[in-house]
Symmetry: C2
Subunit: 299 residues, 2 copies
Amino acid sequence: MTQQQRAEIDQLMRSARLDTSLPPEELRETFEIYTTMGPPPVGVTLTDTTLGGRPALRIEPDAASAEATILYFHGGGWVYGSPRTAASLTAALVRHVGAPAVSPAYRLAPEHPFPAAVEDGFAAYRALLEDGVAPRRTVVAGDSSGGGLTVATLLRARDEGLPMPACAVLFSAGLDATRSGASMDEKDGVDPLFDRETLARLSTHHLAGADPRQALVSPAVVGDLAGLPPILLQVGTNEVLLDDSTRFAARAAAAGVGAVLDVTEDVPHVFQGLHAYLDEAVEALDRAADFVRRHLDVG
Amino acid sequence: MTQQQRAEIDQLMRSARLDTSLPPEELRETFEIYTTMGPPPVGVTLTDTTLGGRPALRIEPDAASAEATILYFHGGGWVYGSPRTAASLTAALVRHVGAPAVSPAYRLAPEHPFPAAVEDGFAAYRALLEDGVAPRRTVVAGDSSGGGLTVATLLRARDEGLPMPACAVLFSAGLDATRSGASMDEKDGVDPLFDRETLARLSTHHLAGADPRQALVSPAVVGDLAGLPPILLQVGTNEVLLDDSTRFAARAAAAGVGAVLDVTEDVPHVFQGLHAYLDEAVEALDRAADFVRRHLDVG
């Protein structure tokens, strides 16, 4: 797309920037309205269900082409968001891969601080396997904090001795609650959505005093990543969270994990969500689907 | 492939390990024999030519499917190797992409230390453009030190105001003559080919006293990477050079470059060269061709 289109999207995101200092309930409502005012996703059927003891949304493609189930974790800084707010992006991934997704409504902070969401993520993954889904036919994916929850779920599952899924896909994942990446400062102002202060407010809710320097919230910085499945990390160069992905990829590779870091220039946080407007988003979803299919073929 | 096959390849590489303490002439002969004893590449025609004042090898695919020219730089630690020693891998890339490659015999150290090879790389790129090849239809690629030469050539071309190619592809690139990556120690003994000592001998020939801490030899560590084209870096987790790629990808992303870091687990240096034996090699070449085609489409 053109430089001008990118500038327009940048402007749009700046004007629709969430105020994370709002009371959580208000923040959730605003985000819900903002993310669900578009037309409902096409080419899929949405069904309410439950998974691992939590409400969940099942997104089934009209045309299934891959024998797989995607466990999807929505974003929202561990404080807001729901399976519905991520439904447009989840549905796009479902259409590109040609396989259904189940997206659980994991518990949110501050009412349910760390590690509540990780417990729910782990329970969802275990429930999927107990339902008879083969791990080699399972994909775990998520955006933003949902990408962080993806990694935390896999680390918990590994430590509990559960088999790993075929692969994982992370869109602009939050992987460092210590906020120590150089991009936190280098991309300050470049990032149309987040800065250190907005993220700090969310972390305060989420961590509620817990140490940010632990693997389940900062796997880009600390903890053993050996034994994780192949992981695709997609991220944009305009993100303060850029280094969450670059450092996680480097640490995963060092631990022997088949990590793929896929950086798109001049795009914002979770740009794949802009698939209706942005060629780069559709192309990134194509590459994500290619990655998933390759690892399902192997599995 | 199976763990056993990987172990066999690892064993094979250890037994065929080059002794970099040999006199350069002997090192070159040994490497030439080792790399060219297989059958000649199929599906391509090899022609001797010249490019930018140096002898070069042109590798034309029998079935061309992309309108592009690949400028390919062979590996060999800046001391050994030739277009012929990389012909099998270059031909595989040519077949996968469906476009011809030209591979110049850039000058080697110690007879021609840094920056002789970079001058030749730059002259080759400039000559290609002067021959009328459109930059957006040009791909620069290389393995090992040839990957390092790829980046150095692009940095020189950028600084001289030449247009950038559509993209670049690096196989296990050497991007840090300071050898400061953690993988230098973490993968010591895991890497069947290289260790700090073998690489140091080559660097002594190549640098001949020049400062290793400069962008043209250590772009994973120092120098401005802004303005480089999209770059794919493929690397194996068993390499002491792993962090050359992980750190370059992170620095490139920070500079706004569309970098893709593609890490394959449990494979050695330039594993794509094992395309006759190793599924992972063929799959990596497929992904490299996908990357090239995507960026040619855009161009």
